[in-house]
Point group: C2
């Protein structure tokens, strides 16, 4: 009889680790992803701030799986899942392809959420994709370039004000790195502006940074951030974002307008829309973040052949972190292997919390591992060690370690290149607001970029 | 009295080396460039083919010059040069800035030339900027991704046909690398297509590859190219390029239509339009490639305070290579230093030809140095050595050497990331031709990229 067909949607932590866990199974694996690469999202902020190259955190998925004979990788975006006919429909450009499955693992991940204010996105990019990171790289370094050019003091102040919305790990790490850039790295690189006069604001609606780390580390993180020149503003709700700044409402009822050119949005997440398509067909509920309710074994209610893993699931308040996706992907693979082999499959997905970490400054971090609580250098060292292990591929590990040496010891940034598209296309939007007309014809049109 | 003001236009080899040569001079140096980085153009093809990261060949100019106290760097595009008032006008987005100069060094470089057929550019990008390289990276790897997806045999063949126009060093190196990718690197990465069945064509109107290298090396290069699966077609004139292929007219009068998705244009160069602005004001002539006639001392006729260097000059048939720009920039700086110090300035620019090299395959190259003629491994080793020296910055040298080890020994490509903009925006143009409508809304509009 024909080998069971396993279709995996997504090349993130959940999808990739599921595929790899099926390497020795008697199944055919088809991994469909809308991106060519496996993105190591936790290090995205290092691409945005010029530490790492895109290749180091986003190796090509088909190369990671090249020696796994039973795995096929397709670059296409899944637009429909038909549970009754057990088919997945994916599209790329003008092409439409359909795949039949016996088992389906949905690992579509999550995107940024603007809590219903999607127009914020134009002025405050999120931190979910390589495009996001490169766009932010262009905005961060580009703002300083523009500040060096301008003669207008108010505009210069606006260009030298950076606002990060959301004090979770991503927001904290971004704010810390932007402060490191302006306070140290670029201090000597400009002649007319003093980059150390730049302001870095970290806003959050909650009353603490990194709440899940607990009061102790949360306080330590805040202290370290402020020591490095980051202004932490809590109980701060962003009510509007536009080209020239943003409006904030504080918990005490007061409001404020902050003039800032470069805004980063790290506030909320929204599960892949695939979650809704699944829910619509099964009646399984989705929560406010669009995450699907699943059974304890990560299967879709009424569909033991369909698994949902990672950021897409609403189960026992599991956090949206890499480990939940990795362990979920592996669990789904184990169940499929057991069923195919006729063994008793594991009944319940048990998440093993390996803890979490956030880098705050050069050599400074906070880490929570089991009962252990670390801050400062020990936490940073633990971070270094753990992340080097998870960077995919031996070669990437070496170049990454090298870039980290360059940055952490030498305080330099060697990966700062931004393209015309990003620099002009994106910065112009910020500079000129809604009535922006491309100044470089063709940049935003199909076809060749003109210079 | 005030220190003499030296304005340098361009951050390429000519501009950067001129600025550095003025480090100890009693002058203020203002370097104006439309790109933030100093681009190491000879290695651009390695970014396009996934060997190097953008940061490695394009370090930030202001960082290279950060410790040179008398140098200021501005990111802006020069739109006007007024020789009478000795001012340079530059623009960035909505900003316009003017600089007065006592000495001006114009090092605007050259762009791709389509010999009056600029519409070719949409379908066959050139190899002059980081944007070009990333766009080609997206087209090369993207074509293979699309080929893996398609069910149509003709389309697959078209997607697996790569055409490089122009058999100079850039074209030869591109063709050689694409062949290396399809014949070796990616052989095991796809399941439905056999990448070794891909065709790589190298076209040129001349009757030899790398003519300036002389008949001997030219023949050796052609042999090595063909041994690696590149189809070399000489006496071939490209009469049209569109989304699905190109039309060729051969010297024997025969014509041919080649169906190919990915086309690379490395055929001709066109000097920066700044050349014309200069010529119009002085009556100095420009040649067909838009290069300015200059005096033996690289000054503009009638303007001993204005130097033109690098790809922009028409002088004694000097080639458009890095060394002409480097030596020219340094010569201009020497003259300025001498005049400022009241010494006798060097009267004539003498170009010292250090030779030229082109890499053809893994461990295979051709090199011409003085009387010395090398091919094969010795030439390749010489290339490795020379280029490592010229890569700017110690850190870049290390990571570059590392990436080269990865690629040349391990045959891998670690820098293959392409953004949605590049992959979708550009590939779609190729796939759908002129009537392309963006399939991912926002990708080609100002503002945030939607996913």
């Amino acid at each position: 009889m024909a080998r069971p067909q396993v279709v995996i949607i997504g090349s993130g932590f959940g999808g990739l680790f599921a595929a790899q866990a099926l390497a020795k199974a008697e199944v055919d694996v088809t991994l469909v992803s809308k991106t060519v690469a496996h993105l190591f999202q936790p290090l995205l902020y290092q691409v945005a701030t010029g530490i790492l190259s895109t290749g180091e955190i986003a190796p090509a998925t088909r190369d990671i799986l090249r020696n796994q004979a039973n795995a096929t990788v397709f670059l296409a975006e899944v637009t429909r899942i038909n549970l009754d006919s057990r088919t997945v429909v994916a599209e790329k450009l003008s092409k439409t392809v359909a795949y039949r499955y016996d088992y389906l693992i949905v690992a579509g991940g999550a995107g940024q959420s603007y809590f219903g204010n999607d127009h914020f996105a134009t002025f405050a990019p999120g931190m979910k994709t390589i495009d996001d990171a490169l766009e932010l790289r262009a905005r961060i370094f580009g703002s300083l370039e523009m500040a060096e050019l301008t003669e207008d003091a108010d505009e210069r102040r606006r260009l030298l004000t950076f606002v990060v919305v959301g004090a979770g790990p991503t927001g904290v790490e971004m704010a810390g790195q932007i402060a490191e850039l302006t306070q140290h790295t670029l201090r000597k690189s400009f002649r007319r502006i003093d980059t150390t006069s730049a302001r870095v604001l970290l806003l959050d609606g909650a009353d603490a940074v990194l709440p899940p780390f607990g009061p102790e580390l949360s306080a330590a993180a805040r202290k370290e951030l402020e020591r490095n020149g980051v202004e932490v503003r809590l109980g701060a709700l962003v009510t509007n974002v536009d080209a020239t700044g943003l409006d904030v409402k504080y918990s005490d009822g007061s409001t404020q307008r902050i003039a800032a050119s470069c805004k980063v949005w790290a506030a909320g997440v929204q599960a892949s829309p695939l979650g809704r398509t699944l829910a619509e067909q099964t009646g399984a509920g989705v929560d406010r973040a669009g995450r699907v309710q699943v059974n304890d074994d990560l299967t879709l209610p009424g569909h033991p052949e369909v698994f949902v893993v990672g950021d897409m699931i609403a189960l026992k308040n599991l956090p949206g972190v890499a480990q939940v996706a990795i362990q979920g992907g592996r669990f789904a693979a184990e169940r499929i292997k057991a069923e195919v082999a006729g063994h008793q499959p594991p009944a319940e997905f048990k998440y093993h919390d390996k803890g979490s970490m956030a880098v705050i400054s050069r050599f400074g971090a906070v880490a929570r591992m089991g009962k252990l609580r670390l801050s400062g250098f020990p936490a940073w060292f633990a971070w270094l060690f753990v992340h080097l292990i998870y960077v995919v591929g031996f070669k990437n590990r070496i170049t990454t370690l090298l870039h980290w040496t360059i940055t952490f010891i030498g305080r330099a940034r060697s990966e700062r290149v931004t393209t015309e598209q990003q620099l002009v296309g994106r910065l112009a939007v910020k500079q000129l607001g809604e009535d922006f007309q491309p100044t470089i014809a063709g940049t935003l049109e199909p076809g060749k970029i003109k210079h």
